[in-house]
Symmetry: C2
Subunit: 316 residues, 2 copies
Amino acid sequence: MKPKRVKVYAPATIANLCAGFDVLGIALETPGDSVMATRTANKEFRFSVETTFLNIPISIEDNVAAYVSSKMMDELKLPFGIEMVLHKSMPVGSGLGSSGASSVAAAVAVNALLDKPLTKKELLHFAIEGERKASGTAHVDNVAPSLFGGACIVLNEKSLDVVSFPVHNDITWIVIHPHTTIATSDARRILPTTVPLSDVTCQMGNVSGLVLGLIQGDAELIHKCMVDHIAEPVRQSFIPGFIEMKQAAMASGAIGCGISGSGPSVFAVTLARDKAERIAKQMIFALAKAEGIKADIYISQTNCQGAIVTESKDEV
Amino acid sequence: MKPKRVKVYAPATIANLCAGFDVLGIALETPGDSVMATRTANKEFRFSVETTFLNIPISIEDNVAAYVSSKMMDELKLPFGIEMVLHKSMPVGSGLGSSGASSVAAAVAVNALLDKPLTKKELLHFAIEGERKASGTAHVDNVAPSLFGGACIVLNEKSLDVVSFPVHNDITWIVIHPHTTIATSDARRILPTTVPLSDVTCQMGNVSGLVLGLIQGDAELIHKCMVDHIAEPVRQSFIPGFIEMKQAAMASGAIGCGISGSGPSVFAVTLARDKAERIAKQMIFALAKAEGIKADIYISQTNCQGAIVTESKDEV
């Protein structure tokens, strides 16, 4: 007998990680989105959002969690209805994979109500398709880590071929989310369409070394490899206070710093957990000084397990 | 008291490994080159070559082992002379890092005679500079693995920043060396100068996944990731019998197959050691059938330790 009500938590992500442009992402422990899904006797889908953020879409067409759920109900021809509440606890358009976390939370929640659950790869398909439809764009590297946990390498974006690996436990991520937005589609439009071969091999060396550094928790290696020759050079001027935040992070002992996803959030990384708060404070101080913009701070280890069912009830 | 005579073995390498074009290489257990170096009272450098191959240069200017040694003697202002014998047991221009192995063997041998030995990074500098001078070109990814062992990622070709990592023990390499030569400089001239962004991210995903697959010994992951979007598409037609050998290797159970370095050697990889001989035989059969060319076969695990001193004597 499948549960009648489940609650699912899906974590935010940092995609790109400098050298890993479009192929590498990690899951954070916090922030993240939660979804509560209840099976109902009628075949309807009812949806609501609980949030303190103002710009969260609530229609079934526009909200990614709702879209993914209704898509799954349709395609899987579910013999029951679902009442879903999305607890949206992070902003959209932040560069933290916010809509990815919502779509993953919804897919995992609907799956937990099924008699025959889908595989994670099948869930990734729904989460990606949903996000693409609802948000206009979907990048596997900021959705897959929310589902699988750890770090994920995207081997093939079309076939959704992804491999995850564990990140060393000492690694601490600092994310600064400035209270401003930029459009992901704009952030893609300015990317180069071709890359000089010498930059390609630099980036390949860096992303390979970064994978090794994340596995081994090798501060020097991560530091050397968190360099992006493709996106950061053209995107950094679109991220308010980026240069100042990066300087502040590195001066405060971070081993790497870059744009989270396509921004505006900026992440830094350290292997010394006790330095994280100081790094974060220096970054928001630099941002405030340069741009007069306030920001939220998230400090988190890597989430190892990805989206999980946190509550499950047979009766409601 | 430093030894008076040393013998050093330096292994051959497979560079590029498909997705790892110009950034990834591994060291083989066999073949490899040996160098015997003896300290002498006069400050002269004497050099000879023992080999069954016909095209090995023997002058100090042209032979890479001799060039590296005399360069080290000059720059380090050694207070003694060296008599060196190079036992050259693999062909040059093979795509197996043959001159890299000779230059590494020489550098490690001279180093073993020093009162204050250099670091491996300093030795890499001499090996690379020597190979560049003597061979006209030097690529770190086919020299570094011979020195460090395991697999090496080239992080920065100019500053010789390299990181090595252990390859899973189950991995077996098969190398077919056709009895023909191609010039590395020609093999580079046909490379693209820019790469479409979509190919760049494919290659980045593949090289990242390949690093993970080599560490974990994951056959499926290695299989998916041993795909080259940069060099193989333009180089394969220059490698006699390449397409036929690759088809034969994959049909015989190899999990990957590609051009070793810039060829003409072709490598295949398997995690089933007992399949290696059959794969090799099918590859040379395909080569003979397609091109009428004979070939040598090398079957080897990954060399973990790189170049080593195999003999050391205080008196001669």
